[in-house]
Symmetry: C2
Subunit: 358 residues, 2 copies
Amino acid sequence: MNDLLLRACRGEAVERLPVWIMRQAGRYLPEYREIRRRVDFLTLCKTPDLAAEVTVQPVDRLGVDAAILFADILLPLEAMGMELVFTPGDGPTFPQPLRRREDVAELVRADVEETLGYVFAAMRQVRRRLDGRVPVLGFGGTPWTLAAYAVEGGGSKQFGHLLAWSYRDPEGLAALLDKVADVSVDYLAGQAAAGAQALQLFDTWGGLLDAERWRSLARPPLLRVIEGVRRAAPGVPLIYYVNGGGHLLDATAELPVEVLSVDWRQPLAEVRRRVGPGRALQGNLDPGALLGPVDEIARRTEAMLLAGAGGPHVANLGHGIFKETPPEHAQAFVTAVQETSARLIAEGRLPQPAAERA
Amino acid sequence: MNDLLLRACRGEAVERLPVWIMRQAGRYLPEYREIRRRVDFLTLCKTPDLAAEVTVQPVDRLGVDAAILFADILLPLEAMGMELVFTPGDGPTFPQPLRRREDVAELVRADVEETLGYVFAAMRQVRRRLDGRVPVLGFGGTPWTLAAYAVEGGGSKQFGHLLAWSYRDPEGLAALLDKVADVSVDYLAGQAAAGAQALQLFDTWGGLLDAERWRSLARPPLLRVIEGVRRAAPGVPLIYYVNGGGHLLDATAELPVEVLSVDWRQPLAEVRRRVGPGRALQGNLDPGALLGPVDEIARRTEAMLLAGAGGPHVANLGHGIFKETPPEHAQAFVTAVQETSARLIAEGRLPQPAAERA
């Protein structure tokens, strides 16, 4: 069994770096688009057979070192009673967003087995289908990011409703965040129980906040999630990703998670210097680079591997792969990581823990 | 005449800090919405009487220390031959975006007097109407940001077309950027000739790039603009604003501009420490804070003023004001800057150059 990802998360020696790609099960793959021609996005999420099938596609095609379950971060909000609509082109919307303290009562403390059981069923299927070939990741949004969608009613440029609430009534918003956190714990623990071997937390909108406000608004419910999942699923590594959050590094580096997933705009070598050798980093090639020439991809990937030296590293992009990416370019990235990191490790240029002890 | 803004830009002593608000002529003002009920956005931009009227509105209502001409950063691209469409709700779009090197030839080296004369006419009217009450700012987008819209065809979440081009054919994209830069020089110099007393450069999408790529892609055409404007309009202070560009500070701090306008997510005290006492800073209250209670606005504004201490400071938000902002809250911000900074300067807590020399 390929357990490179799990070893890297735990800070153990590897013979080459593990690699996977955020949004690797998605629209850039013709075999994914083929399935989407038959079913819409939400149906795909809710049909375990199909969700498992698209989850495994990039493992089959690209030989990545981990699968990540196909799902959407907004599913738990739907489970909590919010009507969720996916409009082609417009993305997800909640026609009845939550805007004030009184609205929080409308959120149901969902029974996740009942409302999100299809996710767990898909996870169990993925584990069976992969049969140990590579580990499987589960994932969820952070409470702040889920609340951003719930309050705004969808994506937004400025998140004016969310920010207004955060300044007007931080306690009321905290009640919403805590409620989302509690269901998130059950949801993530349920994924682990169904077979997820690591869990990634996506803080897509954490970067909207300055560091002081991130600490006071986003961090407490996030810690609630982390601590809850630790209790329910001890030993499952946690990965935290924040989009556009370079200014938050001092704060996010303190999170009790195994892996920090780094945005493509942060210089990886600087992040390594600031967080030290003990923390696994994930990332962070610019997803735009996969739109460029293949030899450039190899060159930039090698530079990225060297920038991450000095501690455990899970190679990945610094953001989700673009739907316009040619699959051969994704392949070039995966192959470059696998071959180049093996060479660099053999050459002693990416020192591993065992080598250091020798 | 109130020349606080110009003195702050030049690093001279002030008795209180100047304050203005990004997007201060805009939808949060009922008197602006009243005019927009009669004319659409582009018509407003192109009717000097009306553009001048909305430019002066926030000076009349709020008593800000500068006006900024009402216009849109995309107008020069329209002048260069790109069809520009504003769809209500959707924002600006270019139905025929530029996607490859051959497309660059379609851009016309516009005669700005002929194609953008309405902007200069509005500027002259604003100067007449204000009659020296406060200085007037002109502005433009940086070449990178204008190119982002021209290539993508509008706003975008990921700017996949732009990034693809930048990796595939950086020289071709550089040709586009240079062409945009040359027209930008004429456009900004034309605004100065028509009466603009300072010029702000908006790099709305510069933050998409990591520092290395910002230096190689966005910086050269930006320097071309800065140097061209210097030659054509010597002595007019330049202000540079980049959105979400905290990771670029080492690079942007080297720009030969008088003022760095700081995003709300960057701790102003840290920016001051890193750029030193010689550079004027602008900003950077979170625009979301104006959606919160008035006493909070005053408290946060005072903290922001103190964070900027140690060098010249133009008070502002760290991003454009939200359309949902109650005008009284904008007023609370302006008043807090004006009263609190006068007190802090009198108390010696925001040392001024003259005081330092005494």
